[in-house]
């Protein structure tokens, strides 16, 4: 008997949701700052050392940036912002991973050098 009212309620809810959703879309500003920061971060991370020591991480950063640019073109500002923020932090991860690898190698070399020197000195004193 009250199916009519039910139908109305459902339609109202749907309309309200749609309106809110549309409003959400329109109210997201173009992520200008986030994009600029992301571009700079990915550029800075794109060194030979980083691509050598953290290739996957660097790749992740640059492809997210590329997707962000695409989202911008598609007027999906929310997606673009999210991807840009992630691209920036991904670039930082890549840089620091590369640095960690380099530091570890340097530490290993310095320990090897110290050991070699110790052995040399041993030989000299034994003689």
């Amino acid at each position: 008997m009250n199916t009519h009212r039910l139908k109305h309620a459902r339609q109202l809810l749907l309309a309200l949701t749609a309106a809110l959703w549309l409003a959400g879309c329109a109210s997201t500003p173009v992520p200008v700052a986030e994009m600029a920061v992301a571009e700079a971060a990915v550029k800075a991370a794109s060194t030979s050392s980083t691509s050598e020591n953290a290739p996957a991480e660097l790749q992740r950063a640059s492809s997210k940036l590329a997707t962000a640019r695409q989202a911008l073109l598609n007027k999906d500002n929310e997606q673009a912002r999210i991807l840009a923020e992630q691209a920036q932090v991904d670039a930082q991860v890549a840089e620091l991973q590369a640095q960690s690898v380099r530091s570890r190698k340097a530490a290993q070399e310095s320990q090897d050098a110290a050991r070699v020197l110790a052995e040399e000195l041993q030989r000299k004193t034994v003689r």
Binding site: N2, L96, A107, A114
Partner: protein, 291 residues
């Protein structure tokens, strides 16, 4: 009644987004547990405290967004940022630990080198002392050694004198006279050959001996021709000696032509004396005697 319940259900579903008790977000939970675990990591808290703090802050922001009922996408995004900042903290701590190791190893090497230099200085002192002691001993035995050397030299001289060699400032000189050669030729006569035998025997008995074979002529004939002739005679002597087993590298040839007369070229006798081959025995290497 049923319709009212249905409406309520729909409204409730519609209001779900604004609920005060949000559904658990697995991405947030993952981030939360990772950051909590990291706080217990002493190396991390010690070496990258600022970076760890930043990660914790990011987690708090994610958590707030979740409580406020932000979209799942936003909450997951913020949780992702928190996780990445934690990874940054971990890499930073690792780099700093490695740098400390490098610095430590460098300091260790410096320390070892200092110790080594100290040891080298001690060693050098020891070696110097040992060398000085050895020098003292040598001095004592040196006198005995010199006496033995002199005895040996005298014996050599005696042997050479037996060959009619004469002692000069150049060394012992054996002179092979003109009569031992065919006139104007470089061929050794029998008499000359006998001398060669004696000489070869001398070299055999004194294997370290070395000699210079020097050819001379008188002043008759051209200087160039004489130079050539003197060279040929010296070569003949050398060939004879080598043929008798004297090592060639102990012998040296000099063609001196008419340049060094020992007698007056004005008389026939004098000229004959000048036509000669001299075999000069240089003092041996181990002889320290001043000649």
């Amino acid at each position: 009644m049923k319709n009212r319940l249905l409406i309520l259900a729909v409204v409730a579903a519609g209001l779900a987004a604004c609920s005060t008790v949000p559904d658990r977000n697995s991405a947030l939970e993952q981030a939360r547990s990772r950051v909590n675990a990291a706080s217990a990591d002493t190396q991390l808290t010690l070496l990258a405290p600022e970076e760890l703090k930043r990660a914790s802050e990011s987690l708090r922001v994610a958590d707030q967004a979740w409580r406020a009922g932000d979209s799942t996408r936003q909450v997951e995004h913020l949780a992702y940022l928190a996780q990445q900042r934690l990874t940054i903290a971990q890499h930073t701590a690792s780099s700093r630990a490695s740098q400390a190791i490098t610095a430590g190893a460098a300091a260790e090497r410096d320390g070892m080198r200092l110790t080594q230099r100290g040891q080298e200085a001690d060693l050098a002192k020891q070696q110097l002392a040992a060398a000085e002691a050895a020098a003292q001993r040598d001095k004592a035995s040196g006198v005995a050694q010199a006496e033995r050397r002199d005895a040996r030299v005298s014996e050599l001289e005696m042997q050479l004198k037996a060959l009619n060699a004469k002692k000069t400032e150049r060394g012992m000189v054996l002179t092979l006279g003109d009569v031992l050669f065919d006139s104007g030729q470089a061929r050794l006569l029998a008499e000359g050959s006998r001398n060669m035998l004696k000489l070869a025997d001398f070299f055999r008995r004194n294997p370290r001996s070395a000699a210079s074979i020097e050819g001379h002529t008188d002043s008759v004939g051209g200087a160039e021709a004489n130079l050539a002739l003197s060279g040929q005679r010296a070569q003949a002597v050398m060939a004879a000696l080598v043929g008798l087993g004297v090592p060639a590298d102990h012998l040296n040839i000099k063609a001196l032509g008419e340049a060094m007369p020992v007698a007056d070229n004005g008389t026939p006798a004098g000229r004959q004396i000048n036509r000669r081959v001299e075999i000069v025995f240089a003092p041996q290497a181990d002889e320290v005697s001043q000649r």
